[in-house]
């Protein structure tokens, strides 16, 4: 009797302990490589630190320096401009294609797969692919322009065109991903809504404005917020496509922080910039949370 009781106790112990043991490996890695770095980064942001010598406490000096740093602001401004072009571009293209592709279309799978496929390719290869296409003297795009009687375009060597090239490559690589999300959202709209609108004789355009768009709000919020956050984190594609140039004309915020931190070894200053970038991303995340909740309540 007492034997079975003690084994029962042992069992109970095991059950109490089990969840902690199951969660432990994930938790240890998570704490070590996400939580601790986040705290360390925050601490760095108040210090002068080159990674080798002793840290020196500065208070808010790094933040003040960031606010005065023109290059930081222009990198941030460029990132904002990039987001302002890429996000609506993604929204319109992805939604437009999704609307075409939820109809009864032959070869639907092929169309969807072809447009989705670039989202699977790494940003480095996306960058390289477009660098090959945009090449000034050997690029296929300038060849086609030449054939049609246009002047060649300095795709990667002129500030305006280099930024546009980055936008084109981004759209190409990301639209498929958001198209799939829009397809899922569109499919969740009940078809009888459309039938009713049809009976009322509403035009396609009106149906789109009055039924599709409002009912698509939760999906729209998700797409806008994810693509805004993505835009603020953009880096590898530009690294491969333009290297941030010409000059610093396509150096966006993450690349700039990387350069300050790793090339110039100013870990404290770069950390202060990271905290500011995190605050920006945090605002958008919080906004998404609020908006998507609001959408669910309607």
């Amino acid at each position: 009797m007492s034997n079975s009781q003690s084994s029962w106790k042992k069992e109970k112990w095991k059950r109490l302990l089990a969840p902690y043991l199951f969660i432990l490996p994930n938790l240890v890695i998570f704490l070590t490589f996400i939580v601790i770095p986040a705290i360390v980064g925050f601490v760095y942001s108040f210090h002068k630190y080159d990674g080798l010598n002793e840290m020196e406490f500065l208070g808010f000096d790094n933040y003040i320096e960031v606010l005065r740093n023109e290059e930081f602001w222009s990198a941030l401004g460029r990132t904002g401009m990039y987001a302002a072009v890429v996000v609506p571009g993604i929204y319109v293209l992805a939604l437009g294609i999704a609307i075409l592709l939820i109809r009864e279309v032959k070869l639907k799978g092929l169309f969807r797969a072809s447009i989705y496929w670039p989202t699977m390719i790494s940003y480095i290869i996306v960058g390289l692919t477009w660098k090959w296409i945009f090449g000034d003297t050997f690029g296929i795009l300038n060849y086609l322009l030449d054939k049609m009687g246009f002047e060649p375009i300095p795709w990667l060597t002129d500030p305006f065109w280099a930024n546009l090239s980055v936008v084109i490559a981004t759209l190409w690589s990301r639209v498929g991903f958001f198209m799939v999300i829009f397809i899922a959202g569109l499919q969740s709209i009940p078809t009888d809504m459309y039938e009713a609108a049809n009976l009322d004789g509403a035009s396609k355009w009106r149906t789109f404005w009055n039924i599709t768009l409002p009912l698509l709000k939760p999906t729209s919020v998700l797409v806008l917020m994810v693509s805004i956050i993505d835009a603020f984190k953009a880096y590898p594609l530009m690294y491969a496509l333009t290297g941030g140039g010409p000059g610093k004309e396509t150096t966006y915020i993450v690349q700039y922080i990387y350069e300050i931190g790793f090339t110039k070894q100013e870990l404290g200053l770069a950390s202060a910039m990271s905290v500011i970038l995190f605050a920006i991303i945090g605002i958008f995340s919080a906004l998404q949370f609020r908006l998507s909740k609001g959408g669910a309540n309607e």
Partner: protein, 271 residues
């Protein structure tokens, strides 16, 4: 559903053509000879099919090593991720214990912390632990994804507790329950996560960039980016390497197309 008209088809064909062209152009170019690569006017189909760039990538470019490194990293990291995420997801879905909700909220709230923002302190933590310049440094840290834990937890919530109780009555230990009951049940979500993880790790650039400095340990993405010199780009090797690098992702995509599209539609993640 409305039937598509010819105008719709025209637009769709045009878009598809634009979307396919860049990849086709890269792949076709990689089979050109060095002379044909820069020939003006450029030929769409290589006039002579040549494997010279592929041979050069492996012989001079050390591509074999990079391919091997990427393969090791992708496979081990994915296995580790699946195991520990499934364990954590199981614990959060099927046990009530002190701190469970705090842990869950903790995991979810860090979804907001992008790697890009903590790359500098991560570098210090990795150096401190002696993981700098080692493949383990690329494999271990990204394995504890909040996304994975969350997806698996949500999935397992629907598993009835009676199933676990019955197994306990039969004398099964907690680990056996996880291994023999939970893992088979969670197979669909685990395969979706496996596909994601494969893609994340195979395509990853920023993490290896932070961890690896020694060219012997480069992954493919690092090697590719390193080959882009300012003035002297070896396009032949780059195009050949890019072409080979796309193959594993293409194979995974074709094999799991359905789960993939569903997975993306339900979780909306790319990390």
């Amino acid at each position: 559903m409305r039937k598509a008209k010819w105008g719709t088809y025209a637009i769709l064909f045009a878009i598809t053509l634009i979307w396919l062209f860049p990849v086709l152009w890269t792949v076709l170019s990689s089979f050109k000879t060095q002379d044909d690569l820069y020939r003006w006017p450029p030929a769409l189909i290589p006039p002579t099919f040549s494997l010279e760039h592929f041979v050069a990538a492996f012989e001079k470019g050390n591509f074999g090593t990079y391919f091997m490194n990427s393969t090791i990293v992708t496979i081990t990291s994915t296995l580790l991720l699946l195991l520990i995420n499934a364990m954590a997801g199981f614990a959060l879905a099927k046990y009530r214990f002190k701190g469970d909700s705090i842990l869950l909220i903790g995991f979810i709230s860090t979804l907001m912390i992008p790697l890009e923002v903590i790359m500098i302190p991560i570098f210090k933590v990795i150096s401190f632990l002696g993981l700098y310049n080692s493949l383990l440094g690329i494999i271990i840290p990204p394995a504890a994804t909040p996304t994975g834990v969350f997806l698996i937890r949500q999935y397992l919530l629907s598993v009835p507790d009676e199933l676990l109780e019955a197994a306990r009555m039969d004398g099964a230990g907690e680990w056996k329950i996880f291994w023999r009951i939970i893992l088979p049940i969670a197979k669909p979500i685990i395969s979706v996560l496996a596909i994601f993880s494969f893609m994340w790790r195979w395509d990853d650039f920023l993490w290896p960039l932070i961890v690896i400095n020694n060219p012997e340990k480069y992954t493919i993405q690092l090697a590719l980016s390193n080959f882009i010199g300012e003035y002297n780009v070896d396009w032949g090797s780059l195009l050949a390497m890019s072409t080979i690098t796309m193959i594993p992702v293409l194979v995974v995509f074709l094999l799991f197309q359905r789960q993939f599209v569903q997975g993306i539609a339900t979780s909306g993640m790319k990390g």
